[in-house]
């Protein structure tokens, strides 16, 4: 029988790509989303890609009663992949309570449900923001957790702690936290991708929107950092590579191959790329000249970070296969499809 996996935030950017990879591997997928930041139509698109539309349940995971009645009605769930969260760093600074309430209450409700309904496994969507500005690069999983710069980042840190402590107290529960570096790009079908609401905070959607003419210029925040070209360095990985890591993590938990009941993995390419290099890659693969301008640093940005993904490479047998150019190309294809130019 097909193993049943619940994907929260399943119509979101990473959630939708993960749902596709899970279904390609033969899992049955149920999406949960409150559509706060995504469209129900994404479930149709997943269906267009995989040949079968996954079930979508629309409700808010902060509503304890809804969560419980969902799991009461849906038995034999093998694992939860928990993506659902508010994710805008800048917004979180202005709305800290909303971020803490939404990101933490939903997680706690799910953990409660796992205990009550005997769901043995969770894969948690965490972030490299937990490392702050690491002293040693590349950064591995042993690096110290640093005080979070934003409420958003803090919800990921606290989220990990809540999971760790809950697992320590409850036998039979297992979880893996995946600390992503910077996911970019879109599905090769061009049917799903990143569609940020409002003005994007992340580099790649800003690049593609600028190239599309939606934005006048791209601001590069600072070129006086202690990096070879002075711009910030990040580790950009293709969202499909990232999605595949979730399938592996779920399988690891279901098959009981995990070494401890709580594990943490970095997911990145292992290669740092500067903002200016990212821009060059985009210009190279698309043949489009970007209108960008160097401006002052943006508050809250760390200087440089990239992953030591050796542990995930070895333990999960996972590594990224798409290059930066691949990712940029797919991001551009998606942007073009979404904003098909009018005559």
């Amino acid at each position: 029988m097909k193993k049943k996996i619940v994907v929260t935030g399943g119509t979101g950017y990473i959630g939708s790509h993960t749902a596709v990879e899970l279904m390609n591997e033969g899992y049955e997928v149920i999406l949960i989303d409150n559509l706060y930041n995504s469209e129900a139509g994404v479930a149709d698109r997943i269906g267009d890609i995989t040949g079968k539309k996954p079930r979508l349940e629309i409700f808010d995971l902060c509503k304890r009663k809804k969560v419980n009645s969902f799991f009461k009605e849906n038995k034999n769930i093998s694992a939860i992949i928990h993506f659902a969260a508010y994710k805008a760093v800048g917004e979180s600074v202005n709305k800290p309570l909303e971020y803490y309430r939404n990101n933490l209450v939903s997680l706690m409700n799910l953990l409660d449900a796992m205990k009550e309904f005997n769901i043995p496994a969770m894969v948690f969507s965490s972030s490299c923001t937990v490392y702050g500005q690491p002293e040693k690069l590349p950064v591995n999983e042993e690096a110290p957790i640093q005080p979070a710069v934003s409420p958003y980042g803090n919800t990921k840190q606290i989220g990990e702690e809540i999971i760790r402590d809950t697992l320590a107290a409850c036998k039979g529960l297992n979880a893996i936290s995946l600390r992503y570096f910077n996911p970019i790009g879109a599905h090769p079908s061009g049917l799903i991708g990143e569609l940020p609401r409002g003005v994007p905070e992340n580099l790649v959607p800003f690049i593609t929107q600028t190239a599309m003419g939606l934005r006048d210029e791209l601001k590069v925040f600072g070129n006086d950092y202690d990096t070879p070209d002075g711009s910030c360095i990040r580790d950009y990985l293709h969202v499909v590579d990232l999605a595949k890591a979730h399938v592996i993590a779920v399988k690891r938990l279901i098959e009981g191959k995990n070494k401890k009941n709580y594990e943490v993995f970095n997911l990145g390419t292992g290669k740092g790329v500067s903002v200016l290099e990212a821009i060059k890659s985009f210009e190279r693969v698309t043949g489009t000249k970007l209108n960008y301008r160097i401006t002052g640093r943006r508050a809250g940005d760390i200087e440089k970070i990239w992953a030591d993904a050796a542990y995930a490479n070895k333990e999960l047998g996972w590594k990224t296969v798409n290059t930066l150019d691949d990712s940029m190309k797919s991001a551009w294809e998606w942007e073009k499809k979404v904003r098909k130019k009018t005559k």
Partner: protein
Amino acid sequence: MGEEGQKKNKVIMTYKKTLLITGAAGFIGSHVARRFVKNYPGYLVVNADKLTYAGNLENLSDIDKSNNYLFEKTDIVDKKAVLALFQKYSFDGVIHLAAESHVDRSITGPDEFVFTNIVGTVNLLNAALSIWQNKFEGKLFYHISTDEVFGSLGSSGLFTEETAYDPKSPYSASKASSDHMVRAYNHTFGIPAVISNCSNNYGPNQFPEKLIPLAINNIRNNKPVPVYGKGENIRDWLYVEDHASAIDLIFHRGKPGETYNIGGNNEWKNIDLIKLLCKIMDKKLGREPGDSEKLITYVKDRPGHDLRYAIDSSKLQKEMGWAPIPRFEEGLEKTVEWYLSNGKWLENVLSGDYEKYYDSMYSGR
């Protein structure tokens, strides 16, 4: 406290917002209402609809039983009824979609367009003003309009939010007039209002007098498919669910006093569109390729037929990150599939049986 008072109290206490959607039994309105009822369980959605020929409660049968949805049969031209509705629910937000919308009908009978579209809008504005009493915090009057208020375009260029109004048909003149009233109330009385102007909508539940469902229905029944003039007119087509997602964003993030254009970035000559539709229908009905195209019949053009509408929605895309999602061919296929698998709906609206549906659902309630 009387029964009414208790009910009202319950409404106010239970829900974060009470929201009036006018014309929610209509084509676009039903998609908007469905979205709000499903995505915002904390909102009470009240559908005020007159149930003209274009309004059909069957469009909402899937949310009919939802706790946070109510129907109030209302003619917005009836000033007293509108005020009573506002008094009953103390709406925090209004999304105003109720309108006469078919250009051909506005040519044969403009009066109805003046009453519903202009007088109806003013009645709603007055009721909102009298209930809100200058306490505008958290309130919004959102008026839905059309890009036809901008008149017609030549072969290039786009309507922006800055384009001067130049309506050409009684329909578009009535919508332009209502837009002006909404802006004037915003300016004069400070009522927080936003407007959006959209291009041609298509999708499930559209009344089969409009180009796409009419063509689908005629092709299906092997009847001639009328095309005005040479079919050279160009329209931008917006999938109705994309329109609903834009309305959702504007309702929550729009700035009072502002206008937003909503378009599909999707221009088609009528004749090319009909030919594409014929191709899709051939496939779906298992006909020989080219069979349906033979049904195309050119008819005398509509008087004052605007050549081209095209709309620049970059303000909305820039400020709110909105984008129309489905590709046209796909959206069109979905629409065709919907009409083919909802033959009963089509028959009902064409025969007037939807009135029976209304009676069966609502009489004696």
